[in-house]
């Protein structure tokens, strides 16, 4: 039973990252009809937003303390971060400690801006071209973004630790111990997903976007500039991917190719959920996450060795062959 619970938690946790990325991919595909291979790169840039903020907060000035000496006998140099001198030592330390959650606020405008620039600067020109061309140009863009980050931050992973208060483990039940941050990640993703759905469901803007997803031409005929709204949706999708990346930092130290690793999986998730279906993407994300974690139980791998490595792909292949439109895909959309 304990094992069972742990696996479900593991699955929800993996699934929340898949679901967030797949949600963004589906937003872009459903609104703009573009297959975005650079989405993994957006996830990675999000993670590096928190690296950037962490570095920024740790900017410090040096003072020489003549009363102490370091191990070489020279006067000790003490580094004081600027935030500590501005907000007082306790408050400053707390701000630095909470840099990852703070990076969430910091990343939203940046990611929206990046998404906006990407759409206006590049992807706009590819609406009328084949899907193959869209895949290729975004694939190229993914390489470029990844290399830019590599040039700036180097090839090694950079730790972005969670705040001390949230970095321990929680005892959930007798014998079930689970890292707190992973639980936080799950709830965070639920909140983000809920927010996106609420935005689309309960605002006029969201209503117009949904109408545009269903029938772009008619919305255009009603005198609404749907392209402008879709551009904003691209920004929103980028922000969702970025947030997923920011919060993922403490689980896995950000490195420049983390996006590529997630990209393939999240495409599979989108296909399983149904191209263009938002609830499908989220459901498939959690479903595949749970499936994957159950497949990696030793009881299962003893029977079918290696199943944990391929289960997601296997499920995707079966789904694509027996139900081409995916779990919740609308009839006739990219079937």
């Amino acid at each position: 039973m304990d094992v069972f619970l742990t696996q479900i938690l593991n699955g929800l946790d993996k699934g929340s990252a898949y679901a967030l990325i797949a949600l963004g991919l589906t937003l872009i595909f459903g609104t703009l009809g573009v297959v975005n291979f650079a989405h993994g790169a957006l996830f990675m840039i999000g993670a590096f937003c928190s690296v950037f903020l962490q570095r920024l907060l740790n900017l410090s000035y040096e003072t020489v303390d003549p009363t102490k000496t370091d191990f070489l006998g020279n006067p000790a140099v003490i580094k004081t971060p600027y935030v500590e001198s501005w907000f007082g030592p306790e408050m400053g330390a707390a701000i630095i400690d909470w840099s990852v959650p703070l990076a969430v606020l910091f990343a939203i405008p940046i990611m929206i801006a990046i998404g906006f620039i990407m759409e206006r600067g590049l992807i706009k020109h590819f609406y009328k071209r084949e899907h193959a061309d869209q895949i290729l140009v975004t694939f190229g863009l993914a390489i470029v973004l990844q290399e830019v980050i590599k040039a700036v931050y180097g090839a090694n992973p950079i730790q972005t630790p969670a705040p001390d208060a949230l970095s321990g483990v929680a005892v959930l039940a007798e014998g079930v111990v689970y890292p707190v941050w992973r639980i936080v990640y799950f709830f965070f993703s639920v909140v983000v997903i809920g927010a996106v759905f609420a935005f689309l469901q309960f605002t006029t803007f969201g209503m117009v976007v949904r109408a545009g997803m269903a029938d772009r031409e008619t919305v255009g005929l009603l005198g609404i500039d749907i392209d402008k709204r879709f551009t904003l949706m691209f920004g929103l999708a980028a922000a969702v991917a970025g947030l997923a990346g920011v919060m993922y930092g403490p689980i896995n130290a950000p490195n420049y190719h983390m996006g590529m690793d997630f990209l393939v999986l999240s495409f599979v998730v989108v296909v399983v959920g149904g191209m263009g279906s938002l609830p499908g993407a989220v459901a498939a994300g959690f479903l595949l996450g749970i499936l994957e974690s159950f497949a990696s139980m030793t009881a299962v791998t003893d029977i079918i060795p290696g199943i944990n490595q391929i289960i997601i792909y296997l499920v995707a292949i079966i789904i694509l062959l027996v139900r081409p439109r995916g779990l919740m895909g609308r009839k006739g959309v990219m079937e």
Binding site: F139, L141, V264, P305
Partner: protein, 400 residues
């Protein structure tokens, strides 16, 4: 000639000449000069040019003719490599049976994957092939370790049986790959003044195989079969209406291109008897896509050009470090020199992938036909200019 039209025959001759004279062409700089690092005429790199050329030619038969974008072709290359190394381990170090086996195994493997994947088109096909390739990669790394030797990669060792050959040579080392006694790594150095030209057996074997592969691809392009594939690309629905079933044709194209990939994998293992799972990763599949697009999709010569260009950049561009840059710009004042070096630095050396990504994006955006289309446009522009000159010349003559 050989059943080719005049234009194709001359293209083939050009390719033959280029590949045969490659040790000269790729070594334009004397070996003691500062520019020697731009020489690409060493066997290892030349072999990679032609092997990836074969890979890209095969990929182009699928993507260029039918328009099906496969993101999993590296799996076939990997399978080819593994089967070739197994042949070296079990049978003999002769490369011929190894290459034949790798082509057959890759063909069977691609038949299986193609049969499933080709039920869907467009983006779904891409994702299916991607999923299959990632599956093979994951399996090669984990469960299939007895077959693939996992992370270490499959190698030939001293205690392999090698039924038709010897397990170890007389002096106790691992025998080298050969073609009926002709050792792949043997080479002949020709020294002409300051130049050193290396003629490697391995390179010429690969080059001859590539020429054969290129000839075959020309024949496929010009055959009724190739015409059918093009029909699938331009309008599959209409093809269905005329009562033709596209599936056997696409499957045949898929298997052929899979066999090309297997051939490339087998050759790669023949040059260096080693096979690792990373050859099957999807980024490796992405690389062949880059090569084909960069050179020119659906053109005959394009994939070879693309493969050569990317492999050249990978090896030569990545060698340019700050020291080299400083010597290039040493004629400038110090401040500007440092500035120029700082500007160019991210694009060369370890950052050459950035340049590659940028070039690739530019090509996809502005030059969908790749280098070949670029060449054609330039040629056209020049011809037009000539004509304009002819046309205008009377009017520009001063009236007398």
């Amino acid at each position: 000639m050989l059943g080719l039209g005049k234009k194709d025959a001359s293209l083939l001759l050009v390719v033959v000449a280029l590949t045969m004279l490659a040790p000269f062409i790729l070594n334009p700089f004397p070996s003691d000069s500062g520019m020697a690092q731009f020489n690409a005429g060493y066997p290892d790199l030349m072999q990679r040019f032609v092997i990836f050329g074969i890979f890209a030619i095969g990929f182009n038969i699928l993507f260029g003719l039918t328009g099906y974008l496969s993101f999993g072709h590296a799996a076939f290359l990997g399978v080819g490599s593994y089967s070739a190394v197994w042949m070296f381990k079990l049978l003999s170090m002769n490369i011929l049976p190894a290459i034949i086996l790798s082509v057959i195994i890759a063909g069977l493997f691609s038949l299986l994957i193609g049969w499933v994947s080709l039920r869907r088109t467009g983006i779904y096909f891409s994702i299916l092939t991607l999923a299959f390739a990632q599956m093979s990669f994951a399996l090669a790394y984990s469960v299939l370790t007895p077959l693939t030797n996992g992370e270490t990669g499959l190698q030939v060792t001293l205690d392999d049986p090698r039924i038709l050959g010897v397990s170890a040579t007389a002096d106790g080392s691992i025998p080298v790959t050969n073609l009926f006694g002709l050792e792949m790594r043997s080479a002949y150095d020709m020294i002409v003044g300051p130049w050193t030209f290396t003629f490697s057996v391995g390179y010429y074997v690969c080059a001859i195989v590539m020429i054969a592969a290129f000839y075959l691809s020309i024949r496929i392009f010009r055959s009724p079969f190739g015409m059918m594939l093009r029909a699938i690309k331009s309008n599959q629905t209409r093809m269905n209406y005329t009562g033709l079933n596209p599936k056997p044709y696409t499957l045949a194209a898929f298997v052929i291109s899979g066999m090309y990939a297997g051939l490339a994998g087998g050759l790669m293992a023949s040059m260096d008897p080693l096979a690792g799972a990373e050859r099957m990763q999807w980024t490796a599949s992405g690389e062949v896509v880059l090569m084909t697009i960069l050179g020119g999709v659906g053109t005959l010569i394009g994939p070879i050009l693309g493969a050569g260009m990317i492999k050249y950049f990978e090896n030569i561009f990545s060698k340019i470090n700050d020291g080299v840059l400083h010597t290039w710009f040493s004629f400038l004042p110090d401040g500007i020199e440092n500035f120029m070096v700082a500007v160019i630095h991210p694009f060369v050396g370890k950052g050459w992938h950035l340049t590659l990504g940028l070039i690739f994006m530019l090509v996809v955006t502005f030059l969908p036909g790749g280098l070949v289309e670029g060449g054609q446009r330039i040629a056209k522009a020049l011809r037009k200019k000539d004509k304009d000159d002819d046309g205008k010349s009377p009017s520009t003559e001063p009236a007398e």
